[in-house]
Symmetry: C2
């Protein structure tokens, strides 16, 4: 949909000189790949943007591999683009200024599980599902779930969240420490395994959400959580999205420790029904999960049922067995792909605003009304317990005016979110496409400070250049 011209760098692509190519080939041998198929696979993500692929891909197997690749790139002033699972939605992986893709997906070992401390250290290429499989006998789990089976390095780099964040927090709250290869190729360690610390600047939190622009994350130390004694999931349908969201607002304001609280609008339900044969009532729906002791889960559920009934919610349907729960959550995770099938051949322009909870009903209602008025097929899913929701506008890539309309709707949505005290991106990141929104949201002074940090830590602008800001 976008073309390279959309993100034309002010600098020309910085081509890899032969000396760099040779150095990487000597070190990485067959793990240094320049075939077009592999380059193209690494130059795309789940975003609707296109750009030329990276000039090469190096498959790293250790922090030392990454340090070597970055040191070599630094010497030659060539961009470095970290690559995990390729599930970015904001163009983070696109080689808009050329460069080499540093693939960490083979760095997939769980390095150290400290079950007694509720911590684990993993290589950056471990995915969240893999982690939970590998630690399942420990009685612990890692809750952050952005939908995609992303790598923990990538989730750290984009400050990911998703379902479960309403109770367990985002990557911001769950990353304790990182190993990072800096722009000069040095290896540093940020943070410790202690639950809290006041030791100097919070480099961990600076790196979390930095989208590869300050360094390459190679190891991640995470908080784990005890598997709840009891888990229950339920769905509840409403006549309109506002009633569903008003229920959520009441849940949050009462302090119910709900673990997951997701909205699907009627279109999203129609999509997952078609895709997963679920037979759900095709009305706005909340999909919820409760964690705790049996008594606590029962109490939470009773409170929420009462609140839902007060907003016209129909009787809960419970998913009590793990299989039923998995079926529901799998459908939820398929919502994006299912939604795309509502309009075959379409591409999606996806919004990611997050607003203070009291403004959520209005934000969702206005977004729906505007999408209806514009006549563009769309659906909404959202982590509404956090005030975060996504509108997917399903546009025909052959019709530029549809894309323009979707972008206009997105702009309006973002401006309203910012005016309401919210953010242009709850969890996807700035990447290529939200750089103007970042300025609108936080002001030129704060963005200037971010640029000062970027320039100090990456003076030659080799770390994923063109992302967050077009330096």
């Amino acid at each position: 949909m976008n073309t390279a011209a959309d993100f034309s760098p002010t600098l020309l692509p910085r081509l890899m000189p032969d000396a760099m190519r040779d150095a990487l080939r000597v070190r990485f041998a067959e793990r240094f790949v320049t075939s077009m198929a592999v380059r193209e696979q690494h130059g795309r993500d789940e975003s609707p943007f296109d750009a030329p692929p990276p000039e090469a891909v190096v498959f790293c197997e250790s922090t030392e591999d990454v340090a070597f690749a970055v040191t070599t790139a630094a010497e030659h002033r060539v961009p470095v683009i970290p690559y995990g699972a390729g599930s970015s939605l904001e163009g983070h992986l696109l080689a808009v200024q050329g460069g080499v893709s540093v693939d960490v997906s083979r760095m997939n070992r769980v390095l150290q599980l400290d079950a007694d401390d509720l911590t684990v250290t993993v290589q950056a290429g471990v995915t969240r599902l893999q982690l939970n499989r590998e630690i399942k006998d420990s009685g612990l789990f890692f809750p952050i779930d952005p939908g995609a089976d992303a790598t923990l390095g990538g989730m750290s780099a984009t400050r990911a969240s998703g379902t479960n964040a309403v109770r367990y927090g985002t990557m911001r709250e769950n990353v304790l420490a990182l190993t990072v290869v800096t722009a000069s190729g040095e290896v540093i360690r940020t943070g410790t395994r202690a639950r809290k610390s006041s030791a100097g600047y919070d480099l961990t939190r600076l790196m979390v959400g930095s989208e590869g622009t300050l360094g390459v994350i190679t190891e991640v130390t995470l908080k784990l959580h005890p598997l709840p004694e009891s888990v229950a999931a339920a769905i509840c349908s409403f006549d309109d999205a506002a009633a569903a969201v008003d229920t959520v607002i009441a849940i949050i304001q009462m302090g119910v420790p709900i673990a997951r609280c997701e909205l699907m609008d009627a279109n999203a339900v129609i999509a997952v029904n078609a895709h997963d044969k679920l037979g759900l009532a095709e009305k706005p729906m909340l999909l919820m999960e409760f964690h705790g002791s049996e008594a606590s889960v029962a109490e939470q559920a009773a409170t929420v049922q009462e609140l839902a009934a007060g907003h016209g919610g129909t009787a809960f349907q419970w998913a009590t067995t793990p299989e039923e729960r998995t079926r529901l959550w799998t459908a939820r995770h398929h919502a994006f792909l299912s939604g795309l099938q509502l309009r075959p051949g379409c591409r999606a322009v996806t919004t990611d605003t997050c607003v203070p909870i009291s403004g959520l009903a209005q934000a969702v209602t206005q977004a729906l009304a505007e999408a209806e008025a514009a006549g563009i097929p769309h659906f909404i899913v959202g982590h509404v317990g956090d005030g975060n929701f996504h509108v997917a506008y399903l546009i025909d890539p052959a019709l530029p005016e549809e894309r323009e309309t979707a972008e206009r709707l997105n702009r309006q949505l973002v401006q309203r979110a910012i005016a309401a005290g919210g953010t242009c991106t709850g969890e996807h990141g700035i990447g290529l496409h939200k750089q103007d929104f970042l300025v609108d949201e936080t002001g030129t002074g704060a963005v200037a400070m971010m640029r000062q940090i970027k320039q100090a830590l990456d003076p030659h602008n080799i770390m994923n250049p063109g992302k967050i800001f077009s330096l």
Copy 2:
């Protein structure tokens, strides 16, 4: 105890030129103060360190006042030292390189309570107790409680925590957004009121814990929490500190959502008994609080009682009325001052390590054994649910060898904490005295990165110079 010579700056104190003095006097009139009494009061904190006082104090009443003071100081390259309540324990307020103290204590207005969003924005000089008084009718509260009635600006700057952090997190988790005056005197806003965001670098978390070295915090937007339906506090005594701590480890590993979980060793209990006439059993003691629905509190308490009994804990004593609870927590908050009276005329060298929870029993046991062996009066209090505890060594200021012994014990404690995956400071900050420990903990590479950030954001090193690192 320490003298200025201990922190001799590599640069000479940077004296205020007459032009700066005149500019501040014109703007601030009687709020520009150079009397020795006021300067001395602003040049001390709760740390055992001494240094010459700042050259002047400006009492700011607005962000614009602070911006004016910093702009003027920047023009003349004179240090700026932010001042809130003066409760720092690490020498953050000491004018080790001269300069002007920027007192924000008169910036004490709660600016905007958004009860429906569970957020509040305050000026930096509002204290935590004041905030909770002012919002008490909203059904919400701000949980972070470092003991002292510190300002929320100061608590942000030191990444404070204290009791309650085990359930509600520290300032790291509870600050949503900040207004900051940068080193050039510009006013920026970091963050939004949304619960989560992936919008660019996390400047909020970079400022939280930066100890005044990157800017002056003038406004703070905080998360609030619903007042729990039910609160219960209990104490439980143990034959030795290890048994108490082993109970805590089990509580955390089981995921009990305990709200407060504090250790007082036998000496600390003796001290508060003497000071507050409490008649507690003079044995190691846990002081706990449970928040939640009535059923949840009862369930948590039953689980914890069982765990305590399994480690030889005596029967719980409950504090069920608010008055009894307040009496107990007041005693806990007095523990430091009460402890000082164990040795009249003493000063305290206080440790602040925080370790992964499984290492806590050994850390406490070794600390106690070493203090006993050294023959220095001491006591221990700790936020043990987080793995954080404080040993106070009570030394005779007239006996330098006692200070040397206390510092040696502290060094040993810190080195063991770091080896166990912990931190040299859970909540007090680096300040003047832990700069070497910071390097030991995080490595020269990470500290070099912190310095690069400092130099980029404060190129003339005017923001609280000499703290965190001696630039």
